[in-house]
């Protein structure tokens, strides 16, 4: 077992050791970030092959691929934020509820008379503000109130959804602000705006996590909070920032969801917590903190969305989908582990 521990430890290196201390040829290549995700890439490719074989050109079609990406966009933005929180040693069960609350609050503004004159950008800012504020509250509860993250965000989950129901009076709020829909329904060089946003968030997230002091501190805080504290990092402030960041992502996801469905609703974001955590963890981010990969998360999200797309194209029953989904998750993880271990050695 300790051998494996060592392998895992090696796998945890953020960058492939380059240069003289590591002339390991192919294995060195495999240990690169692309290599670390080999398993995921293989799983995704297999899935796509499955799609092509079973659904032919209905699957391998630009429109269908854009559909998959559009579906991935909303949960993808949340998952990128979740990667930060989990890497920093936390967890957030309230993401779906925050998405719901943000969507409701933002659309309440938009559906009220006053807002008819205001620009649609107000919706965007409201959602971001509400999301960020929720994240801030979560972070403060966890870092300064010292409530276990699981419980604190479970409480937020209940509270935020309840609040969303109260504000919306449990109705679906339909937005008709014209500029809003127009902006988000547009495409940039054939790529839908939602997908562009997701890509931008992913890239920004990657840079933030891997190229900045903030990201480096996130790894430290998640890996060993006591050591991080003694190294002079303000662990609590950093924790608050992580949850706030995730809250902002949820706010953005809410905007995207409002744009997609033209509605704000207290039922939005149902079970996002599980979907996002699953994508993050299957991507290779350690639930216990200290190790995280945005690329892995993006792959994780794509795997799950492609999966449901392929299922639907094949007209599979929901029950059969569930069974197959379980099996595929396990296979993907096993594959990823085997390949990662080989590349780490």
């Amino acid at each position: 077992m300790s051998e494996d521990t060592a392998a895992v430890a090696a796998h945890e290196q953020q960058r492939a050791p380059v240069g003289k201390d590591n002339g390991r040829g192919i294995s060195g290549l495999l240990a690169s970030p692309a290599g670390r995700n080999t398993g995921l890439v293989v799983a995704l490719v297999l899935l796509c092959l499955g799609g092509v074989v079973t659904a032919g050109d209905r699957f391998a079609d630009v429109d269908n691929l854009l559909t998959i990406l559009r579906l991935a966009a909303v949960i993808g933005v949340v998952s990128v934020g979740m990667t930060f929180v989990i890497t920093g040693g936390g967890i957030d069960l309230s993401v779906g509820a925050i998405v719901a609350l943000s969507s409701v609050w933002a659309t309440t503004l938009a559906t009220q008379g006053i807002a008819n004159d205001t620009h649609w950008i107000v919706i965007v800012f409201t959602a971001l503000l509400v999301g960020g504020a929720c994240g801030l509250v979560n972070g403060a509860l966890i870092a300064y109130g010292r409530v276990v993250a699981f419980i604190a965000t479970l409480a937020s989950l209940a509270a935020a959804r309840g609040l969303a129901e109260i504000i919306s009076n449990r109705k679906t709020q339909i937005v008709n602000v014209p500029g809003f829909a127009a902006f988000f329904d547009a495409s940039v060089l054939g790529v839908p705006v939602l997908v562009v946003i997701f890509a931008a968030v992913a890239v920004a997230g990657w840079v933030l996590l891997n190229r900045t002091t903030f990201g480096r501190r996130t790894f430290a805080v998640g890996g060993n909070p006591e050591a991080a504290r003694l190294a002079g990092i303000d662990v609590r402030r950093h924790t608050v920032m992580l949850y706030t960041l995730l809250g902002l992502c949820c706010g953005l996801a809410a905007v995207m969801l409002v744009a997609r469905t033209t509605t704000g609703s207290a039922t939005h974001g149902g079970l996002y917590e599980l979907d996002a955590i699953a994508a993050v963890v299957i991507g290779g981010t350690l639930l216990s903190g200290g190790r995280g990969t945005i690329a892995g998360t993006v792959f994780g999200v794509l795997i799950f969305t492609t999966l449901s797309n392929v299922f639907t194209l094949n007209n599979l029953s929901i029950s059969a989908q569930a069974v197959a989904k379980g099996a595929i998750i396990v296979v993907a993880v096993l594959l990823q582990q085997r390949l990662a271990r080989r590349s780490g050695a």
Binding site: S2, E3, A6, A7, A9, A10, E12, Q13, Q14, R15, P17, V18, D21, N22, V207, R211, T212, T213, F214, R216, R217, F219, A220, G223, N224, E226, A227, A228, R229, L230, A231, G232, I233, D234, G290, R291, G344, A345
Partner: protein
């Protein structure tokens, strides 16, 4: 082929590879019943790895192990324990949250039909702790709340409870004070008298002379000498075998601190309302102050409080004349303070991250422009430091977890060297560090001091405190009982001071 009948354990051509490192590349040695066999070697020489192979925790890649003349393979720790091999690991592997008694009997619990015999376990634990000279440890205490030293005692009790034929101890004395080491030696003598063999690992040559019978020296995972007589072999010869070079003077020369040197660190009336109070001391620029005291006298707490990692109840800490905010590590670090904590694994290191990231974690902003890090500069600066400190194996991208204990310690030191602190607090800086590296670290501390840094050193090794410090503070039960220049006090006087009221 069979091993000589006299050997209890005999090892031939042992090889153990880790991803990227070959920790053992051909180790041979044998242990006779009733002897204390010492293993010597620099940090990273492969001693702990060897122990883990012998106790079934690692499977060797090549080589043979003979137990009582028979070829064996200990596939797992249980198999080794059954045969009579008991080990105390360097990284105290106890379970925090379980009681002392539970830890002692973990894996070989006393039970009837699955139900724990708690009274019996407690009774036997009590007896073992008494034997080890620690009647004050309660078998019901949570191990996680014990000091490191007491945890070490529990580990020993655990090994003794196995009632083995071969007892392997990986640096048991690293966290013990001289008094406790004496008790430990008593226990070892008793065991060997009963025919139990002991494999003893330590970086302190004096101990090896005192307790050892024969010595095996490892270097870079190979046996370079075996079967040397522990009492007769010359120190210089041992050091030469281990390091491949000759070292003479361990402690560097002191330079007298200029009388007008500014008082960089001023601690006044510090107390935490519990473990210590009324602690006053000052450290001048260029001065090394040593804190001596028994384990549990509160030295670590004082350092941590000065550093802001614990909140002070009374008193002030000033750096360069400016009082620090209480309970704020950030304030202390910004004021130019650095701490090498006592427990490097749980307090000091990001074990699963690369060496360079552990080194730069406290100085990130100096590598950043608008928050974006210059990875290459980080590696380069860290590389220079690890080279200077001779961290082995080299390579700033290595994961810290895979480094040997001593090398991990150097990584923590490198962190604060990089930051160029004005005040450096060192809690047991040479714990688990080999002689060679030790003198390098002493050298380094001295250099730092000479460059104007104020240094505070806590060590359980009184010789080290006296040899290194300009001024010595002696602590007893949370109070400073002596404060004076190091050359006006000797080891026995310090011992008297710390023990006063203790022995009686």
């Amino acid at each position: 082929m069979t091993a000589p009948a006299a050997a209890l354990l005999s090892v031939r051509g042992l090889v153990k590879r880790f991803p990227g490192v070959t920790a053992l590349q051909g180790v041979d040695f044998e242990v006779r019943a009733g002897e204390v066999h010492c293993l010597l070697g620099q940090n990273g020489a492969g001693k702990s790895t060897l122990i883990k192979v012998l106790s079934g925790a690692h499977r060797p890649d090549e080589g043979e192990i003979y137990w009582r003349g028979e070829l064996v393979s200990f596939g797992n720790p249980t198999a080794a324990m059954r045969s009579g091999v008991a080990a105390i690991y360097q990284e105290l592997d106890l379970v925090a949250g379980l009681s002392v008694a539970d830890n002692v009997f973990l894996g070989h619990e006393l039970s009837t039909m699955g139900f724990s015999q708690r009274a019996e376990a407690r009774r036997r634990t009590r007896a073992l702790l008494d034997l080890l000279g620690h009647p004050e440890i309660s078998p019901d205490r949570d191990v996680g709340q014990l000091s490191v030293a007491h945890q070490q005692v529990v580990s020993m009790a655990r090994a003794l409870s196995l009632d083995g034929q071969l007892l392997i101890m990986d640096e048991p004395s690293a966290v013990l004070d001289p008094d406790e080491v004496r008790v430990l030696f008593g226990v070892i003598r008793e065991l060997t008298a009963r025919g139990v063999a002991v494999v003893y690992i330590s970086h302190r040559l004096a101990e090896i002379r005192e307790i050892g019978d024969r010595v095996t020296v490892l270097k870079d995972g190979r046996t370079v000498a075996t079967g040397l007589s522990a009492r007769e072999v010359k120190t210089s010869e041992l050091i030469a075998l281990m390091t491949g070079r000759v070292l003479d003077n361990v402690f560097p020369d002191r330079k007298p601190v200029a009388p007008d040197a500014p008082e960089v660190l001023v601690v006044r009336g510090l107390g935490d309302g519990d473990r210590f109070r009324d602690v006053d001391f000052t450290v001048r620029s260029g001065e090394v102050v040593g804190l001596a005291g028994l384990v549990g006298s509160g030295r670590s707490e004082i350092l941590e409080t000065v550093y802001g990692a614990r909140k002070a109840a009374d008193g002030t800490v000033e750096v360069n004349g400016r009082a620090l905010r209480r309970g704020s590590v950030g304030a202390a670090v910004r004021a130019g303070m650095g701490l090498c904590p006592e427990e490097r694994k749980s307090q000091g290191l990001l074990l699963d991250q690369a060496v360079y990231r552990n080194i730069t974690v406290s100085s990130l902003s100096s590598f950043a422009r608008f928050g974006f890090l210059d990875d290459r500069a980080e590696r380069a600066r860290s590389g220079r430091l690890t080279e200077a400190l001779d961290v082995r194996p080299a390579g700033v991208d290595r994961v810290v977890r895979g480094l040997s204990g001593g090398n991990q310690q150097k990584v923590v030191l490198a962190r604060w060297l990089l930051r160029e602190c004005r005040v450096l607090l060192l809690d047991e800086p040479t714990r688990g560090v080999d002689v060679g590296a030790r003198s390098e670290i002493y050298e380094l501390i001295r250099e730092l001091a000479d460059s104007g840094v104020a240094v505070v050193v806590v060590s359980s090794d009184i010789e080290e405190v006296l040899g290194l410090a300009d001024r010595v503070l002696v602590l007893r039960e949370g109070r400073v009982v002596h404060d004076g220049p190091a050359d006006e006090i000797d080891e026995s006087r310090v011992l008297d001071l710390v023990m006063e009221g203790h022995a009686a």
